[in-house]
């Protein structure tokens, strides 16, 4: 099993055995976590290679010219962009299917992901903007959360997938996991309690075995976050020398 330590510029690419599925990842990246959730939930055997995203190895840029995680590799096949990776995995490993077969339902789910990606960018903007600019981002965030709340309520079940966790739940979860961690240490300008269905969902998701297996260590995450704010992301925070 390869190390969890991240690979940086100048490193050698660890050998990939024929027939093995590898995911290039980063321990605190929410986009990569989407792919890990799907891999874990569907019990797809895989190995993980973590990438130093500030100082990317040249060999990684050969595989993905955009240099982003997650990136999947198996034999000669490379897939990147998180939503595409997740869909690809769901199709190629069809047991425990996570996406609906009906084209319209598929489309509605993808539209929810698009609404959500607006939320992600507004949330990131709010976290990094000075206090006086926060009100505009905040209003956008509240609108997005209202949309998501309506979407969830319409699905008549505890999950975006209805009565069971489906792809949409995994695609959204990583950001809510982080919001819950932040909420314990900083006052958030919005409250999830205002969105009762979403609030319940954030309590149910941690019961899912894949969510548990892929969970962030809150302390390590906060240390990583602090290190990124300081301009020197510590991708290997919390790892011992032999990890």
């Amino acid at each position: 099993m390869p190390t969890q330590q991240s690979f940086a510029t100048g490193s050698a690419c660890p050998d990939l055995e024929g027939g093995t599925l590898r995911v290039y990842s980063m321990r605190f990246c929410p986009y990569a976590q989407r792919a890990l959730l799907v891999l874990t939930h569907k019990n797809i055997p895989h190995e993980v290679v973590n990438i130093n995203l500030k100082n990317k190895p040249e060999w990684f840029l050969q595989k993905n010219p955009l240099g982003r995680v997650p990136t999947l590799e198996k034999d000669d096949r490379i897939v990147y962009e998180s939503a595409i990776c997740c869909d690809y995995l769901d199709q190629v490993y069809p047991d425990n299917k996570l996406t609906p077969d009906d084209p319209y339902r598929q489309a509605r789910d993808k539209m929810t992901v698009e609404v959500f990606s607006q939320f992600v960018s507004d949330f990131q903007k709010m976290m990094s903007s000075p206090p006086q600019e926060k009100p505009e981002s905040l209003q956008k965030i509240k609108n997005n959360l209202s949309e998501l709340e309506s979407s969830l309520t319409a699905r008549q079940g505890a999950y975006f997938g209805g009565n069971a966790v489906q792809m949409l739940d995994f695609l959204l979860w990583p950001w809510f996991e982080r919001i819950l961690i932040f909420a314990k240490v900083v006052p958030l300008t919005f409250s999830l309690e205002d969105y009762p269905a979403l609030c319940e969902w954030t309590k149910k998701m941690p019961e899912c075995p894949a969510v548990q297996k892929c969970r962030l260590d809150p302390q390590q995450f906060l240390e990583f976050y602090k290190s990124t704010k300081a301009g020197a992301p510590d991708y290997d925070v919390g790892l011992g020398k032999d990890s």
């Binding site: 096949r77 897939v79 595409i84 690809y88 598929q106 539209m111």
Partner: protein
């Protein structure tokens, strides 16, 4: 049906059962992606153009994000150009524009999902002329275009090989708008010596009926873009 853009205070034209409607805007590249797919697949549809600066409430009710394209059919609503086009390809699979092979489909999706790296430069290049960083911007532009040049060289005349596929239609609208860019930055011209495959591809695309039908002359694009920058977008430019 009128082509004029409908704005605040307007009534939503009634939609007959069984009719597919596209909410659009005549100069929007994202809506053009869906128009191209509809036309290439010979799907019958009607168009309602939207005043995106003064959106009607009935439009926001259909798409909370408030953008075009939006498809409406009986009680079904689909928005986001990539979602619309995938949905159309599922419901109207002749001709199929997205491969049925999962890996090939993923590679195609990666091409249009990462095309944003090119489109963002369409906004940055004009700004960089003003602030003196044009050279750097053009280098980034060419680096991103090289990904598509390289991919095209492996595939054939079109990204779909001997006939166009979804990738060709998803990226075309910006290539149509390059003449607008080159007025401010001639360096943005697609040089056939640097990009021989993309240059040939652009000529081939212009021969497709769907591309010809959605094509707007550079002067129209320039006029619209200037009116947009001036804060008063002329959505109905060119209409009698």
């Amino acid at each position: 049906m009128s082509e004029k853009a409908l704005g605040r205070g307007s009534q939503c034209p009634p939609l007959a059962p069984g009719t597919l409607r596209l909410y659009s805007m005549r100069f929007c590249p994202y809506a053009q992606r869906t128009r191209l797919a509809l036309l290439h697949k010979n799907i019958e549809f009607e168009t309602v153009n939207i005043n995106l600066k003064q959106k009607p409430d009935w439009f926001r009710a259909r798409n909370p994000i408030g953008l075009v394209p939006v498809l409406e059919f009986d009680d079904k609503i689909v928005y986001e150009s990539n979602v619309c086009n995938e949905y159309l390809d599922n419901i109207y699979p002749t001709p199929k524009l997205i491969p049925t092979d999962f890996y090939r489909a993923s590679r195609d999706k990666m091409l249009w999902e990462t095309f944003g790296k090119v489109t963002e430069l369409f906004y940055e290049i004009p700004k960089s002329v003003a602030d003196g960083s044009l050279d750097k911007c053009i280098r980034r532009y060419e680096r991103q275009l090289r990904r598509y040049e390289s991919e095209l060289s492996n595939r054939g005349e079109y990204f779909g090989g001997s006939s166009p596929c979804m990738v060709d239609f998803m990226i075309w609208p910006w290539f149509e708008r390059i003449p607008v860019l080159t007025i401010i930055a001639p360096e943005a011209e697609i040089d056939p010596n640097k990009f021989p495959h993309l240059s040939s591809w652009m000529k081939l695309m212009m021969e497709l009926p769907a591309v010809r039908e959605t094509y707007e002359e550079p002067t129209s694009h320039v006029h619209f873009f200037s009116s947009l920058r001036a804060g008063n977008p002329d959505y109905d430019y060119g209409l009698k």
